[in-house]
């Protein structure tokens, strides 16, 4: 039997592959697979790293100062760590043009999951309304993934919107600021719930609070932002490493999959990939599972259709979560010390469902600890001397809410292939809903009021609306559908157009709730491998 060919080693691809391997199937994974640097001084804390590295500025700012954020830049509030540069390293053959969308792509081992912030938020029944299955059907796969990767969480108010599945372990130690936020919430929870529909609780995070397999629990080195050196924080490359221990697994790195070829019956027969030297390689496929990420999978699909028919379809309904970053100052934490040796990503989450609406917005609350301060100090309305001094007094009081908005499939948003140039370019067209600006304004105002009730001030001028594409929660191009219409998939994510073609990434999601999508991608990929293979 020809092996199952899987394209891409991101969160979806590796969990599909591992599940299929455990069922005894033979899996070949094709991947560009850019590789990152090994962890340096793995047992050292962040401040220890600064003391012991021979060139600390080279590590934190990059050998060519690539992570330095100078005045005049337009971007995020933080610098991208040099140790993760490989995640966004491009591949020359891959070209994209985008309108109203700023897409990000990864050709790294582990894909975009190598730079995620570890939030694992299961979809509930309301959020799965457009899916051909409900939470009950997906819950066993959430649990299976949780047991594989290690997820911490607690039964608290958020359980009303974040279903409690099996496999959760106890949360990490809270940092002082996060603990204060939850304490304040407890004192005002009835009011916050009644006025704003606001619920708060512990974040669900893929970081170990106890040893799992060969991985050790988090030791609070404070190095999360630069890449966990102890593997306590999960990234998909860890599951890829597990796949590689199976004799029936073949990992073919350095290959860029361009398209697949079909036989006379319209089944995928061969997959064509190119190595960096331009040489073509062909792989026979029993089944092909595209898990390269929604947009990259769309490109492979479109190129294949074009090669076979000369036609270029439009894949309508592409989605992404709009995100807004809302920095805040917790007035009760002014002048208080902060501990760099703590978990660095968000430890607290909130859900806000304003009364009278049926949409829920998800906020991830990160307190500032060890992020580089130079990108932030320059945004203060002072000279830098005053800014540095002020920052020392407010550092422990700073935090950021990352607000996620839902998105829905709309025909005006689509992905296609521009074949007028060589190489062909993926073309992404996105137009936000006309009502979006007003909608964002209202929601931001609600979150600011919630923060104020928690003792936090969120200055209006620092609110940053991230461009569409920045959240990297792409979905919806080939949705699951009960009807076998063209350019859709079955409930098991098998293409309705090509019998032995599956999509294991976000391509098949018919809706996009206001939550990090990665956990659901992993659970769904596991479900496909378990039930369809």
């Amino acid at each position: 039997m020809d092996p199952i060919l899987v394209v891409g080693s991101g969160a979806s691809g590796v969990h599909f592959a591992l599940t299929a391997l455990r069922k005894g199937r033979q899996v070949t994974m094709l991947d560009v697979g850019h590789h990152g640097p090994d962890a340096v001084l793995p047992g050292e804390t962040l401040n220890g790293l600064k003391r012991r590295l021979p060139d600390p500025a080279g590590y934190f700012l990059g050998p060519g100062f690539e992570s330095l954020v100078l005045p005049g830049h337009e971007g995020e509030y933080y610098a991208f760590p040099p140790s993760k540069e490989h995640v966004f390293r491009p591949r020359q053959e891959f070209q994209v043009q985008a309108e109203g969308f700023s897409p990000l792509f990864s050709f790294a081992e582990g894909g975009l999951g190598e730079v995620w912030t570890g939030g694992c938020y299961p979809f509930n029944d309301g959020e799965l309304r457009a899916f051909p299955f409900g939470y009950r059907e997906l819950a066993p796969f959430y649990a299976k993934v949780a047991e594989r990767i290690g997820i911490t969480g607690a039964s608290d108010d958020l359980s009303a919107v974040l279903p409690l599945h099996d496999g959760l372990s106890e949360p990490l130690k809270l940092d002082r600021h996060s603990a204060l936020l939850l304490e304040t919430y407890q004192g005002r929870r009835d009011y916050l719930k009644r006025e704003f529909g606001c619920l708060m609780g512990r974040a669900r995070l893929t970081v170990l609070s106890r040893d799992l397999g060969g991985r050790k629990q988090c030791t609070y080195l404070g190095r999360c932002l630069w890449g966990c050196p102890t593997q306590a924080f999960y990234t998909p490359s860890l599951t890829l490493a597990e796949c590689r221990t199976f004799a029936k697994f073949q990992y073919c790195a350095g290959l860029y999959v361009d398209h697949f070829r079909m036989d006379a019956q319209g089944r995928v027969e061969k997959v064509v990939a190119y190595s960096a030297d331009g040489q073509a390689h062909q792989f026979a496929a029993g089944s092909l599972v595209l898990a390269a990420g929604t947009l990259s999978s769309a490109r492979i699909f479109l190129e294949s259709i074009y090669q076979a028919s000369g036609k270029v379809p439009e894949l309508r309904g592409v989605m992404d979560n709009r995100q807004i970053l809302m920095p805040f100052v917790n007035l009760w934490m002014l002048g208080r010390p902060w501990n760099p040796e703590s978990y660095q990503y968000h430890q607290v989450a909130m859900a806000v469902q304003p009364p009278g609406t049926d949409e829920c917005f998800h906020g991830l609350v990160t307190t500032l600890k060890t992020a580089l301060i130079h990108p932030l100090v320059q945004t203060l309305p002072f000279d830098l001397g005053t800014g540095v001094s002020a920052f020392r007094n407010v550092h422990g009081a700073l935090g950021m809410v990352n607000i996620n908005f839902p998105d829905h499939r709309r025909d005006q948003n689509y992905v296609t292939l521009d074949v007028s140039s060589t190489p062909h370019r993926l073309a992404v067209h996105y137009h936000p809903d006309r009502a979006e600006p007003e909608h964002l304004k209202r929601t931001v105002a609600t979150f600011r009021r919630v923060l104020w009730k928690l003792g936090c001030f969120a200055p209006a001028r620092t609110v940053h609306v991230r461009p569409m594409g920045a959240s990297v929660h792409y979905a919806g191009t080939l949705p699951m559908s009960d009807k076998a219409t063209p350019l859709t998939c079955s409930a098991h994510c098998r293409s309705h157009d090509i019998e032995n073609l599956y999509f294991a990434d976000g391509s098949t999601f018919p809706d996009l709730p206001a939550k990090n999508i990665t956990f659901s991608l992993m659970a769904n990929a596991t479900r496909i491998a378990e039930e369809a293979f």
């Binding site: 401040n47 600064k50 003391r51 600390p56 500025a57 590590y59 934190f60 700012l61 060519g64 100062f65 330095l68 954020v69 100078l70 005045p71 005049g72 007035l331 009760w332 934490m333 002014l334 002048g335 208080r336 010390p337 902060w338 760099p340 580089l372 301060i373 130079h374 100090v377 320059q378 309305p381 002072f382 000279d383 830098l384 001397g385 005053t386 540095v388 001094s389 002020a390 920052f391 020392r392 007094n393 407010v394 550092h395 422990g396």
Partner: protein, 158 residues
């Protein structure tokens, strides 16, 4: 701009930002930045800067007080100026390297009340510095603009 001038800049800026002389490692990296980094294009020497930028950089390197005045002026009226970029480079290097990183992480005593008092005093000092800097640098900038009008502009000034 030669190495000695860059080293002097770095030492002055560090004293202005954290009140301490930087380590030789920080000074060396500051010089490296001007020689290596793509981001430094235009910051390393007069050829890449317009005349007022050159002037602000030159003045700011004289001492911490001048650095504060130049920075206060730039913070409102020249936000992307070379002097501000150079100060950010210095700050970034200081925060990556002990012992300066420890100075930046240190929280002053006094709790929330002390922090509020210090923030208020800092704000007042900044306002005063800004007024003085505007009084000093605005005439210079205007004079340079007038002189510029009477001769062909350099590529950068265009």
């Amino acid at each position: 701009m030669n190495r000695a001038e860059l080293e002097r800049e770095c030492r002055t800026y560090a004293r202005y930002l954290i009140g301490q002389t930087p380590s030789e490692y920080v000074v060396g990296k500051y010089v490296d930045f001007h020689g290596q980094s793509k981001a430094a294009a235009g910051l390393a020497g007069p050829a890449g800067l317009d005349r007022f930028d050159q002037f602000l950089v030159g003045v700011s390197a004289r001492g911490p007080l001048w650095a504060r005045l130049a920075d206060a002026y730039a913070s409102q009226l020249r936000k992307d100026s070379a002097v501000r970029k150079k100060l950010i480079v210095t700050l970034a290097l200081l925060e990556c390297t002990p012992p300066s990183s420890e100075v930046l992480d240190r929280v002053d005593a006094g709790g929330p009340l002390g922090a509020v008092v210090r923030l208020a005093l800092g704000g007042m000092l900044y306002a005063l510095t800004l007024v003085v800097s505007v009084a000093i640098f605005t005439p210079v900038r205007l004079a340079m603009a007038v002189r510029l009008g009477s001769r062909p502009a350099t590529r950068r000034e265009r």
